[in-house]
């Protein structure tokens, strides 16, 4: 990090010492050539000045190079083009020499400056690449650890569930409890793995342009179990327009399912749940609205904190208090958000936003 931050500082402004060094160099070159003025030709003078200007551009940067080109132009005229000691020029051809000199030195100062910048840019790009690579490697390492933990926790749970089923078929009614508790533990393991993934900052893997109805349909299907016997109204804004967002489908689906499950959990079964999708500026929004008790003013930020349970909710509710924290984490990791608002007429509205995707981005093919 520090290496990269130092880069722009070095190219920003030449130090006063740099200015002095190069102006002195120009003065020395002028003095030396003055000594032998009678024997040097204009072309030699021009070449010496050009050399000084170019070195100054390489070492001191564009400003020093261009200033020195200007100074050399004046000195050339003053000291080496007759009549000496004035800025007047006797021979019109000398104008040509002078103008060509000025143009050449200015252009070479600029070119050298750009070449140097290009080099610096490449060095910066290489450094950034190396950093991205090491970041990528560390994400891979995290993924590998989480996969191993996942395997080590879920494999014994599979055995427990399987054996519980065997016990149940031999008539032991405690088996059902074992299997249900194994499911609860399994759900908790999934949430803890998500929690680790979010707190470790593992980036989403597969962000693509996805379509809103596809996500809504999949969410309604996955939440089917807890929405049973309920009226769910789907509202799609301007049904003929395509609603596209840029998001990771499977993860975003879990956020929406979580919001639907919460709506079912915190509102009475006879109350309908409303769910919809709309475009809002540069965002695609999915919203889930219920007619439950809503969230008290004081708790509105706290519901997104990890391991937070709303006041008065039972510990047996099955929740780990991670749902909304994970939902918000998943949304934020892909440039989106999850927000709460109270609903007019009572209840809650949760809104999941993801970046909007324009379909025109890539040319049509079929």
């Amino acid at each position: 990090m520090t290496g990269v931050r130092a880069e722009p500082a070095r190219r920003a402004k030449p130090s006063p010492a740099t200015w002095i060094v190069w102006i002195v160099a120009l003065a020395v070159a002028t003095a030396l050539m003055l000594v032998v003025r009678v024997r040097v030709e204009r072309v030699h003078v021009a070449l010496v000045y050009l050399l000084v200007v170019q070195f100054a551009s390489v070492r001191g940067g564009r400003a020093v190079g261009l200033t020195l080109a200007g100074l050399a132009f004046l000195a050339f005229n003053w000291f080496f083009l007759p009549p000496y000691g004035t800025l007047a020029i006797a021979n019109p051809l000398d104008w040509l020499v002078l103008v060509v000199f000025l143009a050449t030195s200015a252009v070479s100062a600029e070119l050298l400056y750009r070449a140097r910048e290009l080099g610096a840019e490449r060095a910066r790009a290489l450094a950034a690449n190396a950093r991205a690579k090491s970041l990528e490697e560390s994400h891979h390492a995290k993924d590998a650890i989480l996969a191993a933990v996942s395997h080590d926790l879920r494999t014994p749970l599979t055995t427990i569930k399987g054996l519980a089923h065997e016990l149940a078929s031999s008539g032991d009614d405690r088996a059902e409890v074992i299997e249900a508790e194994a499911d609860r533990l399994s759900d908790f393991v999934s949430k803890l793995l998500d929690f680790s993934r979010i707190t470790m900052g593992t980036p989403p893997r597969d962000i693509q342009a996805n379509e809103a109805e596809d996500l809504l349909g999949a969410a309604l299907q996955q939440a089917q179990g807890c929405l049973e016997g309920r009226t769910v109204n789907v509202h799609i804004e301007s049904p003929d327009a395509l609603l596209f967002g840029r998001f990771e489908f499977a993860q975003t689906l879990r956020v929406l399912v979580n919001l639907l499950e919460n709506a079912a959990k915190y509102s009475a079964t006879e109350q309908p749940i409303d769910v919809g999708a709309r475009r809002m500026g540069a965002e695609l929004q999915f919203w889930v609205a219920d007619r439950g008790a809503g969230v008290a003013e004081a708790e509105r930020d706290r519901i997104f904190e990890p391991f937070y349970r709303p006041r008065g909710s039972s510990r047996d509710g099955g929740g780990a208090g991670l749902g909304l924290f994970i939902a918000r984490g998943i949304a934020q990791a892909q440039g989106g958000s999850v927000a709460y608002a109270s609903r007019a007429g009572g209840g809650s509205v949760f809104t999941l936003s993801v970046p909007w995707a324009d379909l025109e981005e890539t040319p049509a093919a079929g």
């Binding site: 749970l157 055995t159 569930k161 379509e211 349909g217 499977a250 379909l359 040319p363 079929g366």
Partner: protein, 232 residues
Amino acid sequence: MDTATDLILVIDDEPQIRRVVRNAIVPDIGRVVEASTGRSGTDAAAAQQPALVILDLGLPDMEGVEVCRTIRSWSTVPIIVLSARGSVAEKAALLDAGADDYIPKPFSTVELQARVRAQLRRARLAPVGSNHVLEADGAVIDLAKPSVKRDGVAIHLTKTEWQLLRTLIQHAGRTVTHRQLFAAVWGNSYGDAQQYLRVHIRGIRRRIERDPVRPRLIVTEPGVGYRFESEP
């Protein structure tokens, strides 16, 4: 039951899971032969000609994708994968490598039994030919004509939509990955086709489904692909 003679190969390095799987299958569904490594598993698949393979990932000697590919190179036997990882990318890679179904751990015995039965049933069905007519959830689809009717009313589909629907129906009951759909419909223009796949799926659903946001024929397999449900 005539199905009880089906031979099922279980490839798994964990004896406890092998036991759970075996007890889920024997005696109601079929007989079981076990292998504890990828190498012995692929050998057994060749030698014993099982009716179905259940493959647990995390074998000591071979990657699951490699086992799938090896078996798929000479056999069409259904392969069900068990995985504790549950990542979308892993699922897509395995289906691309030829696996037929993917069950995340921990699974319930009832679910495993249902998925095994579904795969065995599917394997016994004749492959879907080009002159196939099927009826599902009130829609009648004739691949030969081709035509779709819902409640007696003919529905128009574009050429691309037909190709997509045909590909899904030919693999009914099995998830077709995005990659497989691109290859079947667009050749291999993977990049451009991605979002158009979503547009066309939406288009087909809006015409053949009763309720396009509650699809019952073309089901989304999140992040992996789409599946035509022949038994909704």
